[in-house]
Every structure is written in structure tokens, then in C-alpha cells.
């Protein structure tokens, strides 16, 4: 009798275990290759997007388990208009996003990836969805009237604060600001404190970092507006983020671009991305992917 009970218990345990482990529909979904991607995702109602878990561009909110960020939210908005109501995130290392896209593990890269000529050779980019340039944090009212690196260079009493290891030190030097007027801080919060305390006239960081810092501080500080990006090698320094598509998904990319054009800059769009630190000042303007990719690519 005991023997039978034990047997039954064991059998039940195994059945429950198998039921728990058995893959649910959709869990084993793999690649999708070729064919009309847009038609396929319209039929299935879900588009798989690759992301690298980087806030605020595209990340999983651990409290809710929800994929969010500038790129996923904008993607949801656009894909809904394309007839695809759901997006599903596929987590990948940033460096593997492009190979994974090509291998068909997902259909779009939604990670806020910068458009670079090298990447343009591997994938098709949508038109940019944001442009991050540089920015200054200055005291409220911008007393010294600093609107860029050039202004700072031309104002003899102005001192610039940068964070150690950040690219702004290079920008400052290339723009001709003497080292004596540059102060290097160990991290961004201390640089912000430096501006508030008057030790430096401005802190230079990427536009997004500046937004993020200003949202976290109570000190009487502000972004320097308008702002002129440093011009280095004849080009203003800016990072343009966009969505990535496979090279044989040109019609898919073009359809996306059409909806993107109508969406970007609208109050709906801005409201969507503002929680992540994006806004009017990160709109890409009229720049197209083709321009950023350079000759011969788009």
C-alpha cells in the first residue's frame, strides 16, 4: 500500500514537473528569415525588437517587468499605426544587436543605437528619432551668457567643469579652451555641485546627461539655451539614435519612416518620451539617415 502511494506520488510529481516545464506557445520562437517582414508581423500581431537594457534608451523596468524607454515606447506608437499592436523585447548584448538582427532573432533594433557610417554598411537605419548633442549646465539665468564652447573660450573669466574620462575634455581642448580654465571633477554630481557653488561657470555633458542631472537636483541651475554644439573637424558633434532594420527589409524600413515622420515632434511623441529625459531639445530636426550614413549608403 505504501509502495503504491509512493509510486503514485512520484508519478504525480513527474507529471506536474513536465507540465510546468513544457514550453508554452511562442516561447520557442526563433528566427524568422526573409519574406515580407511587415506582412508577417501584421499577420502575427507582434513585432520582436532587440534591446540592450540601457536606461533611458530601452530597458526593462524591474518593478513591472515592462519593456520601456525612448525606443520601445516610440516603437509601440509607430507599430500600432502600422497595424502591429504588440512589441516583444529580445534582450541582447549591445555589441551583438546587429549580428542578432541579421541572424533573424528579432526584426528591429530598438535600442537608441547611434547611426554611424560603419553600422550603415551592416543595417538599414530609420531616420533618427533623437539627436543628443552637448549641453551646459549653468546657474539660473545664465549670467555669463554662455551658449557653447566657443562662448566659453571667448569669455576670459569663464571656467569649464568636466567629468574625468568623459569626452567633453577632448571637445574643450579641441575648441581651444586652455587647460588652466578647465576643472576636472570625479563624477557628474560633483560637477553639478561645482556649478552651484560657483567654482566653475558651467558643466559640460551630453544633452541627456544634463537633462537627467537637472531633473535630480534642486539647485538653481538650468540648461544653457540656445546651445551651440562644438564644431570639431568641421562637423558639429551630435549623436543621432535610430531604429535598425535588416538590409533586405527596405520596404519595411520605408513604411516605418513614413509613420515616424508624421509622429516625431508631435505632442503625443513628446509626452511619451519626456519621462526618459528626451524632449523638444532632443528632436533630430531634418537630418535623415542617408545623410548620416554618408556616401553610397542609406
Amino acid at each position: 500500500m505504501l509502495q503504491k502511494l509512493r509510486f503514485a506520488a512520484g508519478a504525480l510529481a513527474i507529471v506536474l514537473l513536465v507540465a510546468w516545464l513544457w514550453p508554452r506557445p511562442g516561447e520557442l520562437d526563433g528566427e524568422t528569415s526573409g519574406g515580407d517582414t511587415l506582412a508577417r508581423i501584421r499577420a502575427s500581431g507582434v513585432v520582436r525588437v532587440g534591446f540592450a537594457n540601457e536606461a533611458p534608451y530601452a530597458f526593462v523596468d524591474t518593478a513591472t517587468g515592462h519593456l520601456t524607454g525612448e525606443a520601445p515606447e516610440l516603437a509601440r506608437l509607430i507599430f500600432r499605426q502600422l497595424g502591429v499592436p504588440e512589441i516583444e523585447g529580445v534582450l541582447t548584448e549591445f555589441g551583438s544587436l546587429i549580428p542578432a538582427l541579421k541572424a533573424g532573432r528579432f526584426d528591429v533594433i530598438a535600442a537608441g543605437m547611434y547611426i554611424t557610417p560603419a553600422r550603415c554598411r551592416e543595417v538599414l537605419f530609420s531616420d533618427p528619432t533623437y539627436a543628443i548633442g552637448e549641453a551646459f549646465i549653468v546657474p539660473d539665468g545664465n549670467p555669463l551668457g554662455l551658449h557653447g564652447y566657443r562662448d566659453l573660450r571667448d569669455t576670459p573669466e569663464a571656467v569649464l567643469g568636466v567629468v574625468t574620462g568623459a569626452i567633453q575634455l577632448r571637445y574643450a581642448r579641441e575648441m581651444g579652451i586652455p587647460d588652466a580654465r578647465i576643472r576636472i571633477f570625479p563624477d557628474a554630481p560633483s560637477a553639478v555641485d561645482g556649478v552651484a557653488a560657483g567654482r566653475v561657470s558651467a558643466y559640460a555633458g551630453t544633452s541627456l546627461t544634463v537633462n537627467d542631472l537637472l531633473s535630480k537636483t534642486d539647485a538653481p541651475l538650468a540648461r544653457a539655451e540656445p546651445f551651440e554644439d562644438p564644431v570639431i573637424d568641421g562637423k558639429p558633434v551630435k549623436g543621432f539614435g535610430a531604429f535598425g532594420f535588416r538590409r533586405n527589409d527596405r520596404t519595411f524600413r520605408d513604411a516605418f519612416n513614413q509613420v515616424l515622420k508624421a509622429t516625431i515632434g508631435t505632442p503625443q511623441h513628446l509626452e511619451l518620451v519626456e519621462p526618459f529625459g528626451f524632449g523638444e531639445n532632443t528632436l533630430p530636426g531634418d537630418v535623415t539617415a542617408a545623410q548620416l550614413c554618408g556616401a553610397g549608403h542609406d
Binding site: L17, W20, L21, P23, E27, L28, D29, G30, E31, S33, V60, T62, L91, T92, E93, S96, P99, K102, A103, G104, R105
Partner: protein, 218 residues
């Protein structure tokens, strides 16, 4: 403590599910491959022996993690691309199967020669001898090392976290990045692996006992 468990346990259990999927899937595949390759290695025909040898040496001689990366990142260049879970099961199965083939082969080799001879004397065909005389005797010898390989397989599932599959280790990392409860989280994760390993060990031991009893009767 309760709060800690409430925050993390649901996520970790989700990760555990994937870990178990990898373990069970990998083990089944490994069992199949080990049997086929183990037998093939003993075959007089070189067409069977050589591919089996190449398979076993290749997968035992390279690192499981490198194999995992190769299947996940390099195979797509040949047009073959699979989701992370499938890649994990495949590589773990291939890897453990190679070690398992050795276990099968050496267990069979350890069955006394006399058994083969007696079988032939009784006019049984080679295949009959193998399946009805030798294998049943070899089986009890295979079980203890197989148990070790199973636990190795369980530990290797952690490697699949590195191709961003949300098994237990990956989930622990994600939770850690979000809450910074580093020490308790990793301790809990280690504990879960340890408990699963113990369950597997107990399971294998009961299978060994059952086979031993059967053999006694046979």
C-alpha cells in the same frame, strides 16, 4: 527576510524553470547521443567509429562556453540560427553527450569478456548479445558517473546566461542590478542550485537502487 523573498523569489523561480528546461532537455539529448556515440566507438566499422570519435574528442576537448558562443554567434553565418533556449539545450546535450559516450563505452568494456563468449556459444547474434546480455550488466556501472554528469549539466546551464537566456543565473544578475542585494541574492541562488543538485543526486541514487534490485532478481 520575508520582503526579500517576496521581491526576488517569483523572478528566481521563473529563472529556475528555464534552468530546468535546459537540464531536462540537455539530459535527454545527452542520453541519446551518449548511447549512440558510445556504441559507435566500439564498432568494428570505421565509418561508425571515426565520426563518433571526432564528435567525442571535439566536444570534450573544447570549452562548453566556447561551444555555446560558437553555436549562437558563428552558426548564423552558415544560415543556421536558433533561439537561445534551443541553442542551450543543443550545446549542453552535445557536450554532456560526449562525456557520456565515454561512460557508456567504458561500462560496456568492463563487462567480462566471458559474457560475450557465452553469448556466442549459445548461438545468439551479436546485436542480441549486446542488447540482452551486455547492456543490462553495463547499466549499473554507468549510473554513478552518469549522475555526476547530470550535476555537471545542471551547473553548465548557468553558462547559458551568457547568451542572454533568462535562466536562474541571468535572472539573479538582473535582480541584483536592480536592487543591489548582492550577497543575499547570490547566496539564495547558490542555495537553489545546491538543492536542485541534491534532488538530482537523490533521484539518481534511487534509480541505481532500483536497477540493482532488478538485477538481483534477474
Amino acid at each position: 527576510m520575508i520582503e526579500f523573498l517576496q521581491t526576488h523569489l517569483p523572478a528566481l523561480v521563473g529563472g529556475l524553470r528555464v534552468t530546468l528546461q535546459l537540464t531536462v532537455g540537455g539530459a535527454l539529448l545527452a542520453l541519446l547521443l551518449a548511447t549512440v556515440a558510445g556504441l559507435a566507438r566500439r564498432s568494428p566499422s570505421r565509418w561508425l567509429r571515426w565520426p563518433a570519435n571526432v564528435y567525442v574528442e571535439a566536444f570534450r576537448g573544447t570549452s562548453a562556453l566556447v561551444q555555446l558562443f560558437w553555436f549562437y554567434f558563428a552558426l548564423p553565418f552558415f544560415g543556421l540560427s536558433m533561439p537561445a533556449l534551443v541553442t542551450g539545450v543543443l550545446v549542453l546535450g552535445l557536450n554532456s553527450g560526449a562525456y557520456g559516450a565515454e561512460v557508456v563505452r567504458s561500462a560496456i568494456a568492463n563487462v567480462p569478456r566471458g559474457q560475450w563468449e557465452a553469448g556466442r556459444a549459445l548461438n545468439l547474434g551479436e546485436r542480441q548479445i549486446l542488447f540482452r546480455v551486455i547492456l543490462p550488466q553495463a547499466l549499473p556501472m554507468m549510473l554513478p558517473p552518469a549522475g555526476n554528469l547530470l550535476i555537471e549539466l545542471l551547473k553548465n546551464t548557468a553558462l547559458v546566461s551568457l547568451i542572454t537566456l533568462s535562466e536562474l543565473t541571468f535572472t539573479a544578475q538582473v535582480q541584483r542590478a536592480a536592487t543591489l542585494d548582492t550577497v543575499p541574492l547570490f547566496a539564495l541562488t547558490l542555495l537553489i542550485y545546491f538543492l536542485v543538485a541534491q534532488v538530482l543526486a537523490v533521484g539518481m541514487r534511487s534509480v541505481e537502487a532500483r536497477i540493482a534490485r532488478r538485477r538481483g532478481r534477474a
